[in-house]
Assembly symmetry: C2
Homo-oligomer: 437 residues x 2
């Protein structure tokens, strides 16, 4: 580690303005001092590995605009670098603020490096997957790997240029013991969480991430990895939500947030999962409180389990509501969730749905840029200015196709034709109708 | 009017149990007395024209399950009865609780009667459209029709068997005058509202629906039409939401609710429109309060204007939130909203998105049936019981296709393959992994 190297948090604390801070301040439309203050106290993060040349850094947290992450990656039997690059590109062009490479098949390190190289936005990963894949490839059970693997894989991912990593550090022996006696229907639905839990149970050992958290912090500080404290105990069913198990893990995370901040390591908290709409506000506010204001990264949340095939929509509802109440970072859910590995089209629609949620939340939170865009959209509609409407749209491709496929030749569209309310109103406003009033 | 004929409201008040009440009570899983009490005091409606033989009546309002309406209908240049019947069928099979026939081209009365005949669920309409279409067909401006038309069209639709009708009765001269001086960007976006406003301005007259509301009530009582008081002043842009214009109209509606109830006419209130997420709760609660607990029927609401091409998702977010706070009846929005007349596929995806919103709200509102289905879904997931999952899904078609197209041959799916959290957890729970703990 270079003596001069500092994490974004350390720079902010030392009043050093990084290039990333400057770009983020411009993007958010706030003075760079605001970004620095939030980085310094841990209420915001800028994930950026010192080895990754990021042209579009993102600030996540506090009241900054809501960000969207897209998970890509291969799976057993479905491993194509070409397709992964396509997924990356479609995610970026749909507006993803980051991607996570969650590959579990193929040459994992090579794919990771290539995605990092090609990504102008932060790239995340879950290092423990590699240990499970290695075990499986060697014909062993997926949890048959060594304690050393935990740390080694984090280091390997750091060297590959990964900007943020999910570390399921909150599943302690104590938490697992309580889980055993719980009435949860779906005990663990986190892939990384289940692997670590399995490892702990098989070996009758404490979670190595927890035991060796200082080592993890050292690696994170060396590369400026943003740690994303993974919620291995996230509920996987609406009826399992907001239970003591989930909260026990959150309490563990709470202490680790302090330890990360002491070492100048950027940290955020991951959260549920499947949560009914009436419990989302409580979940987010509790995470913010117990997590000491650290940025919150939610997967979903899904407020019903019955939307299979359309879980991107279910998730948009949960995410918009969560972000409105303070969630900073939305992990997308694709239409393929719960049934298959997402393909390129699933990635696209997953990002679009999450971007919609992010925009809705930005507007509701009073984000000035977001409100200004809504204002412009209203003006464009009033003027039947289709080009401007499409330019302002979150994703205009499908709308353009529809407009073209079922056109109406005058002002307005084929929905209302000559009976368009805006047209009729315009006519009498402009005196095209003889007005007696 | 037969001496013996009573509206559902009048029957409930006279302690007469109708067949529709019985079916609805079964559907909701509540004693019929609960339905009757809410019908009697106007907090719920069962739309059913005496001439329409409805096999699947729906109770809308109070804390009953949230219902979904699908708008179908032709438009200038796009008029096919065959396609409209397809839309009806796809809407029904996706779970629509009602349809509105909003045709503005072709043989309107014939199409209406055929849809009514073929619909086992309530059918709604907007009678004033017919007047505008007639004027346009005669080469006149769409607002060139007679005062008599207002009443005649309502009667014609009643005789066609329409169960509920949107009557834009709240746009009074006073409301319009205030609109003129307002800073709204999109003055009127309601098609019916704009036509009526244009008519009023051109003729310098009060809104005939308002002036002749007693006659409208008499027709409604004669056929048991549920009146849906249309919000001609609904905001058409997020930046226009919750303004005095919208509320002035609501205040007019408030008085009309009383007058309808006095005559035993079932009535509900229509609402916005485009509303930012942070104003939806206020809007719904204000409508419930000012509307004296009458059922609320919302179009959207859309919490961003920038989702064009994906407005079904935008609307699902707004509708779930609105229904959680008390909205009873969701009017779907399709992916074609703001760009084109919806086709059959748009209708399908519009209904699915709204059903998702309705289910999310039902769960959040603590609806027992909805919670039981979530419970069963969690059990099915834990058991990898795909058939049961699909059976419980809101709409399983797309999920089935995805599962088939990218299969995984063991338990679980291609998302996680051998690293499935549920599988790994199951293995160590069942002792398939040697456990030392």
């Amino acid at each position: 580690m270079s003596d001069r190297f500092m994490t974004q948090m350390q720079m902010a604390r030392n009043n050093i303005v990084s290039e990333e801070m400057r770009i983020c301040a411009l993007g958010e439309g706030v003075p760079v001092e605001v970004i620095m203050e939030k980085l310094a106290n841990g209420q915001a993060v800028i994930p950026k590995n010192r080895l990754h040349n990021i042209s579009k850094p993102k600030v996540i947290g506090s009241n900054f605009s809501v960000k969207v992450n897209a998970n890509i990656g291969t799976s057993f039997g479905y491993s194509s670098l070409k397709e992964e690059l396509e997924k990356l590109n479609v995610a970026l062009s749909a507006g993803a603020d980051s991607v996570m490479v969650l590959s579990t098949w193929g040459n994992l390190s090579e794919m990771r490096r290539i995605i990092v190289e090609n990504s102008p936005v932060p790239v995340g990963s879950v290092p423990i997957y590699d240990s499970a894949v290695k075990a499986y490839e060697e014909g062993k059970n997926v949890i048959d790997f060594s304690e050393k693997d935990f740390i080694d894989m984090v280091y390997a991912h750091a060297k590959d240029g990964i900007d943020f990593m999910t570390i399921h550090v909150g599943i302690t022996k104590d938490v697992l013991k309580k889980l055993k006696d719980s009435k949860r229907i779906l005990k663990i639905v986190s892939r990384g969480g289940a692997i670590i839990a399995g490892w702990m149970i098989k070996n009758n050992r404490e979670n190595p991430f927890y035991e060796h958290f200082d080592e993890i912090l050292d690696i994170a500080a060396e590369f400026d990895i943003t740690l994303s404290l993974g919620d291995g105990m996230r509920p996987g069913a609406v009826v399992d939500a907001t239970d003591p198990q989930q909260l026990e893990e959150l309490f563990v995370m709470s202490q680790l947030v302090d330890r990360a901040r002491e070492k100048g390591v950027q940290v955020m908290l991951e959260g549920p999962g499947h949560v009914p709409l009436n419990e989302i506000e409580t979940n987010v506010k509790l995470m913010k409180k117990i997590g000491k204001g650290a940025p919150i990264f939610l997967l979903g949340p899904l407020p019903t389990d019955r939307g299979v095939g359309h879980d991107h929509i279910v998730s948009a509802v949960g995410a918009a509501f969560a972000a409105y109440h303070g969630c900073d970072f939305i992990c997308y859910v694709t239409p393929a969730e719960h049934v298959a590995l997402p393909d390129v089209e699933d990635v696209k629609y997953g990002v679009i749905a999450s971007k919609i949620a992010a925009v809705i939340a930005d507007v509701a939170r009073g984000n000035k840029k977001a409100l200004e865009l809504e204002h412009q959209m209203a003006l464009a509609r009033a003027r039947f200015d289709w080009n401007k409407m499409f330019e302002l749209a979150i994703h205009s491709e499908d709308a353009k196709k529809k407009l073209k496929s079922r056109p109406y030749e005058s002002e307005g569209c084929s929905m209302c034709g000559p009976f368009c309310a805006i047209k009729v109103t315009k006519d009498f406003s402009e005196g095209k109708i003889t007005v007696m009033m």
